[in-house]
């Protein structure tokens, strides 16, 4: 029988340790960004890989989210004679909230997991130790390029997801509510402000950093062979998801 107090205490300590390690890795990675110019090829390689891997699923997800949002809100708005407002609601929701959060969750599932699996495999096969023996810092060599790639690529993907989601919304608005596309985009132009897009991009950058740091932390701490890599990958994705939800709340609250 586990003592509940002991259980809570142990898990609290583990949580504080995890947060501490993530902050420490973030600071070390920032320090190693001094070598970014020397590693532009690696950074671009990871950016391209992230973009290419995530683009199809990001397109699919944001297209359907945009379309479903119109269906869900459209019928209610129509009852009040406000269906034209769809052109205001969908773009704002995509730019401020759905674009950054959904794309970040997709990136965490695809790229965050890949980062942990790659670095975790290198850790258990002693490749990370080999780097250290060659005088190469694993944070500078492994974490920094992935960190910068996530930081710059997620906002790009978010802009793309926003556009696709808004277009999906426009198609359904025209098809089901007989509202001309021009009105949809007029409403969008009236209500969507540049600051909404900027806020979404800032969120995206924060989520990108979080995904990279969490992925690298779990990868570098992997132990226990192939099973350990699987375990670390699962934990990394869960931690990224939870971190994105929590950070999203606090960033949104900060801007209210």
């Amino acid at each position: 029988m586990v003592n509940p107090l002991e259980y809570i205490g142990r898990n609290s300590l583990n949580l504080f340790q995890l947060v501490g390690e993530l902050i420490q890795l973030f600071i070390h990675t920032l320090y190693w960004c001094k070598q970014a110019l020397r590693n532009l090829d690696k950074i671009f390689y990871f950016m391209v890989r992230m973009g290419v891997n995530t683009l199809p699923i990001a397109s699919f997800t944001s297209l359907f989210v945009g379309m479903v949002m119109v269906l869900q809100t459209g019928y209610t708005l129509e009852k009040f004679g406000m269906a034209e407002s769809l052109g205001a609601i969908v773009p704002i929701a995509m730019a401020r909230e759905l674009g950054p959060v959904l794309t970040a969750l997709l990136l965490a599932g695809r790229i965050g997991a890949a980062i942990t699996a790659e670095i975790g495999t290198m850790t258990v096969s002693e490749e990370v130790d080999a780097l250290k023996t060659l005088g190469i810092n694993p944070i500078g060599y492994l974490a920094m390029p992935r960190f910068l790639a996530c930081l710059f690529m997620l906002p790009v993907l978010v802009v793309y997801a926003d556009v696709v989601g808004i277009l999906g919304g426009a198609v359904v608005t025209t098809a089901y509510f007989q509202i001309p596309v021009t009105i949809y985009f007029d409403r969008m132009a009236e209500s969507l402000e540049v600051i909404d897009i900027i806020k979404g991009l800032v969120k995206a950058a924060v989520f990108g950093v979080t995904i990279a740091i969490v992925g690298c932390r779990y990868g570098l701490k992997t132990s226990g062979g192939a099973a350990g890599v699987g375990e670390a990958t699962t934990r990394s994705v869960v931690c990224s998801f939870v971190s994105i939800y929590i950070l999203n709340y606090f960033i949104t609250r900060l801007w209210m």
Partner: protein, 267 residues
């Protein structure tokens, strides 16, 4: 500042020191992982330009000891004195400086699977010394020739056999022009011919470059062939040490069992 000066004076002294002087002195080294006490008051002297072989059964702490020498693990207590400087008492940056002429060959070879053979060999030169690409390629080819792997310079690690990977790992270690090379089970998993070739290579490097080598193995044939000094680690302690001949004559029951490959209550 004074500590740095002291380190540099000692380093200068040790660069002109004689062959057979103590290069690495390990004193009362202890290491535990949770409740498992792996190394218990380990004392070893590793002499310059000699091959020190550390033998022992699986799980006795041989690789852990090697990782302490390389600085990949930190001891719970004890001293690791490299060229007269206790690395457990100085900061990690200074310790790295002392170890920058050390290289390690891992049991799994630990080649980076995303890089070609030549890129693996030149990795340290590219990332640490920032040499021009042409010069890195020349050094990589030179080291690959030394281990007779030059024809595989453009291959990926997964295209190589176990023995070939070990040779490339040795070439990668040599690319940094080390004075001390640590080998973790260099012949494990290899057929007898390939294991013999690796032994010959270790001997050749010692003769040619006067390298100090520390070899962890449980291959007794290899230990007696390449070792100038052999230590046996048993249950985290050094229970016997000496030159190969005196080791063969050891009266220690556990050592005898290990050499004759006859198990019993001891092992």
């Amino acid at each position: 500042m004074l500590i740095c000066l002291d380190i540099h004076i000692k380093l200068f002294h040790y660069t002109v020191m004689d062959v057979n002087e103590v290069e690495i002195d390990i004193q009362k080294l202890n290491k535990s992982f949770n409740s498992l006490h792996v190394l218990k008051d380990v004392d070893i002297e590793i002499r310059r330009a000699e091959t020190t072989v550390i033998i022992g059964g699986s799980g006795t702490g041989k690789s852990v000891l090697l990782k302490h020498i390389m600085g990949l693990l930190q001891p719970d207590s004890g001293r690791i004195i490299i060229r007269g400087v206790d690395v457990t008492t100085i900061n990690s940056h200074e310790a790295e400086k002392l170890r920058n002429r050390f290289a390690m060959v891992f049991q799994s070879s630990a080649l980076l699977h995303s890089l070609t053979v030549a890129e693996n060999v030149g990795l340290g030169l590219k990332e640490q010394h920032r040499l021009p690409k042409k010069q890195i390629n020349e050094i990589a080819m030179e080291k690959l020739k030394l281990v007779k792997m030059e024809q595989k310079y453009n291959s990926m690690p997964e295209e190589l056999s176990g023995g070939m990977k070990k040779r490339v790992a040795i070439a990668r270690a040599l690319a940094m022009d080390p004075e001390v090379v640590l080998y973790d089970e260099p012949t494990s998993g290899l057929d007898p011919i390939m294991a013999g070739n690796i032994d010959e290579l270790i001997l050749e490097l010692k003769e040619k470059f006067k390298m100090t080598s520390v070899v962890v193995t449980h291959d007794m044939e290899s230990a007696f062939y390449i070792g100038d000094h052999i230590c046996m680690l048993y249950q985290g302690r050094i229970i016997e040490e000496g030159d190969p001949e005196s080791f063969k004559q050891s009266e220690n029951k556990i050592v005898k069992q290990f050499i004759t490959r006859h198990g019993g209550a001891g092992i």
